[in-house]
Symmetry: C2
Subunit: 318 residues, 2 copies
DNA sequence: TTAGTTTACGGCGACCGTAAACATA
DNA sequence: TATGTTTACGGTCGCCGTAAACTAA
């Protein structure tokens, strides 16, 4: 029997990605009932069971793995074809799903994204703001901005900026509580912590700029949130000490709204990457956005290794 | 807009192959009206005109070329996926469209195809018998058997047998008209000729087995046909001299129904090839059929260079 | 009990074929 | 003139959503 419906293939891919028929149905904007029937029909056409299912779950069969692998490449080709046709028209069109963290988005990206949207009237932007790690393939994201080192080999990445965690607080907080001269003194400060998967991040690692000493301090504080921008706001309001990527607090350090603590010490490396699903074809609009962001980071000097105001004293790790 | 219907893609491929919307519609078993609407919808989805059409003809646009190229690869992948799934099941299933010439089919292939079909109950065979050159891609043939050297680079081929044209006649014809001792004497014989594109083939080229001499004679005769098997029948009935591939007359030479004329001379080379459209994936059933035919040719000794009964005296061309 | 898959059923929409118009080779 | 594409129109089939049943987590 011959294949007829492309959405049936998209459904199978969705099921393979999410492991859920309901989730895949939602992705295609159909009901689970329709999805069930559709998948059944596809399997009938192929004469092969692609997913073993119970009333409560589904898992892919070996035949399903095989088929999905081919189908994915086929759909990628069709996407690429459409992309090529669109690029014939000079201006960029289409939607971009961008995933980024709450603070980075608000403090840095929003203005730059405005510029990009103004420059490309045909482009639509769909922001997925979250401080929990999003699955680029599962959530159908075109582009995710991520701090830290990468792991997933199914992804392709491009480095946008290089940064480290820096420690800072508002001037009035410093006036009230003084400056610590060593990380260990943070223990007697009010520290603002981020919550990840329900657990507060209270271990803050440090290394001397000259590399002569490292230490990790356990901090305390009355305020914590799973939204990094809220934590940032608390710091601005003088509620405590903040430890986060220099990129996010770059503007506030420059304006004096925040002052840097422990300038002789540096936090862990947090390079910023643009991450894309490793399909063969990246739409022109996505490439353009990545270029745009990279250019903006370059202009602000954040693309270079510059973890501390004292600049050149930094030791570069091998 | 997202692609939905795979048959729309097949239609576009058909139009690219045949240059005709009506022909492509027939291929998909729909009416030209439906095909027209379908193609229009595809173009609307893509936002691009794939074919420039008048009320009487159509031709592909550059954008169409581009799209069709990707779509073809995508559909090939899906075909391959289905093939892989089927091969999981041990026995072969599916249809094979085989194109071959009328005489080769009747004199040689039919029995062997019977064997193949008996050995593989799940396989269906669709013969396209024609003595005019069929376009493998245009006519959606899985496998074509062709005499002579190949040209089209879009095809993949495998040599099944090596043969030359031989000249022969029935014993009673020889009794009545005698044996020619030189090709030039064919001019006073009744020669049976094949009609190709409305023109009789009356130039018969020869070379001496030792390579010392070549000549091309212009022959005459009262009977000609565009069906090579008819011509063959006439020869058996004693109506004249036949010049055709040794493979086709192999059995009749062996049985004595035909006798070879001019044994010191050989006709042009006519290797027999199995030709397949150069898609990445060749279905297992087609591969099996090619193997089957190759094996049968090997068993009869027709795979070797053996243009004359005197065997080793043949000179091999560089 | 919950949540996700499956079945049943009714209605709407899409697509096809018939038929006729149209234009070009 | 004849052939191949397009438009118009009516009917049918398929597919989706609603709702409920089912079952494993």
């Amino acid at each position: 029997m011959k294949l007829e419906n492309i959405d049936e293939l998209r459904l199978a891919l969705g099921c393979a990605d999410t492991g859920s028929l309901t989730a895949s149905a939602a992705r295609l904007h159909i009901t689970p009932a329709a999805a069930s029937a559709s998948l059944k029909k596809l399997e009938a056409r192929l004469g092969v069971r692609l997913f073993e299912r119970s009333t409560r779950s589904m898992r892919i069969t070996p035949a399903g793995e095989l088929f999905v692998d081919y189908a994915r490449r086929a759909l990628d080709l069709l996407d690429e074809a459409q992309g090529q046709l669109q690029e014939g028209g000079s201006q960029l069109v289409g939607a971009i799903r961008l995933a980024a963290s709450s603070d980075l988005t608000r403090r840095v990206l929003l203005d730059w994204l405005d510029d990009f949207l103004a420059a490309h009237p045909g482009v639509e932007l769909q922001l997925a703001v979250s401080d929990t790690l999003t699955d680029v393939v599962r959530d159908q994201v075109d582009l995710a901005l991520r701090y830290g080192e990468l792991d997933d080999s199914r992804l392709v990445a491009r480095r946008l900026a290089t940064s480290r965690r820096v420690t800072c607080a508002s001037p009035d907080y410093v006036a009230r509580h003084g400056l610590p001269s060593h990380p260990s003194e943070l223990a007697r400060h009010e520290c603002l912590s981020f919550v990840i998967r329900g657990r507060r991040v209270l271990q803050w690692p440090y290394a001397r700029n000259d590399g002569s000493e490292t230490c990790t301090v356990r901090v305390h504080g009355r305020r914590s949130a799973d939204d990094a921008e809220i934590v940032h706001r608390w710091a601005l309001a003088g509620h405590g000490v903040l430890c986060k990527s220099e990129i996010d607090v770059h503007a506030h350090l420059a304006s004096g709204a925040l002052v840097r603590l422990l300038p002789d010490w540096q936090g862990i490396r947090l390079p910023l990457h643009a991450v894309m699903p490793s399909r063969r074809f990246v739409p022109a609009r996505v490439r353009a956005l990545v270029d745009h962001l990279a250019e903006r980071f370059r202009r602000t000097g954040m693309d270079l290794e510059a973890g501390t105001p004292s600049g050149p004293s930094l030791t570069s790790e091998p």
